[in-house]
């Protein structure tokens, strides 16, 4: 199996790697693989044991003014909430965002790697990489690790010379261009709200509110989503963070508790 190991190349120049200094350190980039006849079984057991953090709701859509990207911030390990403040919207460069769904470590590592590759592209070609190009770089890497147990469901959103761009890329090797995506365990709920409220000619504020409400509704019904709903907007001059609201507080904003008049009040019992 020929793996694409370019993701592991160290960018630090190693002077004199052939002498004793790096003895015992891998000079060629490689992932340590377990020596076993049953790779799949080993991965199944290892993943059960380490229980990497996943479970999420993310969404992104293109509209008249650019791309809106939103996500929750909960990470769960089995039934335990390991964090309520995970950054699921990753800033690849000032003009491109990536979302995280699936294994947190897988997404973090490969998005960081993608950022490095995008920067190298800029230096080599004297121009920013397109969203098409960036998503293809990531998709090719993930395809080469297909079947090895990576769990990545990401969206690459950006604004390049051709205008706003949005791609969905996953660890099965899929890559789809589209205008509306939601990824994660809470995505069915988010799609319900997003699809019914979507119009191409929304203003930035309307689109942000739609994205925020979609994430809120997904966190309401999906146990694996929660925390803080972050909303980002990608425009012609790059991305800006529109809002970050605790979903518990959003609930009471959308459904305020109205004090109701008491009809019968229980009186004090005298004696016993």
């Amino acid at each position: 199996m020929k793996l694409d190991l370019s993701g592991l190349e160290s960018t630090v120049p190693h002077f004199g790697t052939s002498d004793g200094l790096s003895h015992g350190f891998p000079t060629a980039p490689s992932f340590d693989l377990p020596i076993t006849g049953d790779f799949d079984g080993f991965q199944k057991e290892a993943i059960q044991m380490v229980k990497p953090a996943k479970g999420t709701t993310t969404l992104a859509f293109i509209f008249k003014e650019g791309v809106m990207v939103a996500a929750d911030s909960r990470a769960s390990m089995g039934g335990y909430i390991s964090s309520q403040s995970v950054k699921k919207i990753i800033e690849i460069n000032p003009h491109m965002l990536g979302t995280m769904a699936g294994g947190a470590a897988d997404c973090q590592f490969w998005h960081r790697n993608l950022g490095i590759k995008c920067r190298l592209h800029e230096l080599a070609n004297k121009r920013r990489i397109s969203v098409t190009g960036a998503s293809k770089l990531l998709a090719n890497i993930l395809y080469s690790y297909r079947g090895m147990g990576l769990s990545v469901g990401t969206m690459i959103a950006g604004w390049d010379e051709t205008g706003p761009g949005l791609y969905y890329v996953d660890s099965e090797g899929g890559r789809l261009k589209g205008t509306r995506f939601s990824v994660g365990s809470g995505s069915p709920y988010a799609y319900g709200v997003l699809d019914s409220g979507y119009r191409f000619d929304m203003s930035v504020e309307e689109a942000a509110e739609l994205a925020r409400r979609s994430i809120y509704h997904a966190t309401f019904r999906d146990g694996a989503s929660g925390g803080v709903a972050s909303v980002y907007h990608v425009g012609p001059n790059g991305w800006t963070k529109m809002s970050g609201d605790d979903v518990g507080e959003l609930h009471y904003k959308y459904y305020p508790v109205t004090p109701s008049t008491v009809e019968q009040e229980m009186g004090e019992v005298s004696g016993a």
Partner: protein, 223 residues
């Protein structure tokens, strides 16, 4: 011939709990000193805390052989960094190095649940929490290990700080003083020891601040 399932696992769980709390200008890292395997105690005096750099300490629970290998690798990488850059590694840099080191073994993971604590480049306390394959984030407090499900809700109750993702941003560092944070940690472990069989014997507390590193011990229940 029927397929035989693997009856030897390269992993073991040596138990134990670790906690780290970030303060305004200090960081407290603590871990119990019990090392066990199954229902047996291997030793009551094992330190789970390792000094990686002047301003970074790592506490790890899980499989201590993997933890030892990880500590050696990080120490060696830090030495190379010092030779190349003529300075100590900062805590945020060490945090990313640890994340990458863990991910390089994505297909044969280190069974090591880590908390990294230290002072950032501005002298403020910082704590980074990890999963076994390298996903990490900076938090105001963190805990890992067999007692983490017992300790974490208590820390959430006492220290719950606004999420760094909120906009407008609010600072995540705890307003507690150093002495209060050390007291809080002692309370955490005293409680966790009551209900977790793998936590106990002795508590090792390391406090890192601008004056340096201070170590303190407290006896815990040995049953």
């Amino acid at each position: 011939m029927t397929k035989q399932a693997a009856n030897w696992s390269p992993y073991d769980n040596n138990g134990g709990s670790c906690v780290a709390i970030a303060g305004i200008d200090y960081c407290v890292i603590a871990a119990d000193t019990r090392m066990s395997t199954g229902y047996s105690i291997l030793t009551r005096e094992y330190s789970k805390i390792c000094k990686l750099a002047d301003k970074s300490l790592m506490a790890s629970s899980g499989f201590q052989a993997d933890v030892k290998a990880l500590q050696k690798l990080l120490a060696a990488r830090h030495l190379i960094y010092q030779h190349q850059h003529n300075k100590q590694m900062s805590c945020p840099a060490m945090a990313q190095l640890l994340s990458n080191t863990l991910y390089y073994k994505r297909f044969f993971p280190y069974y090591s649940f880590n908390v990294l604590g230290g002072l950032d480049t501005e002298g403020k306390g910082c704590v980074y929490t990890y999963d076994a394959v390298g996903s990490y984030e900076r938090v105001g407090y963190g805990c890992q290990g067999s007692g983490s499900t017992l300790i974490m809700p208590f820390l959430d109750n006492q220290l719950k700080s606004p999420s760094p993702l909120l906009l407008p941003a609010q600072d995540a560092v705890t307003p507690l003083s150093e002495a209060e944070a050390v007291d809080l940690v002692k309370t955490c472990f005293a409680s966790a020891t009551e209900r977790d069989i793998y936590t106990g014997d002795k508590l090792e507390i390391v406090v890192l601040n601008a004056d340096g590193i201070r170590r303190e011990y407290m006896e815990l229940r040995r049953d």
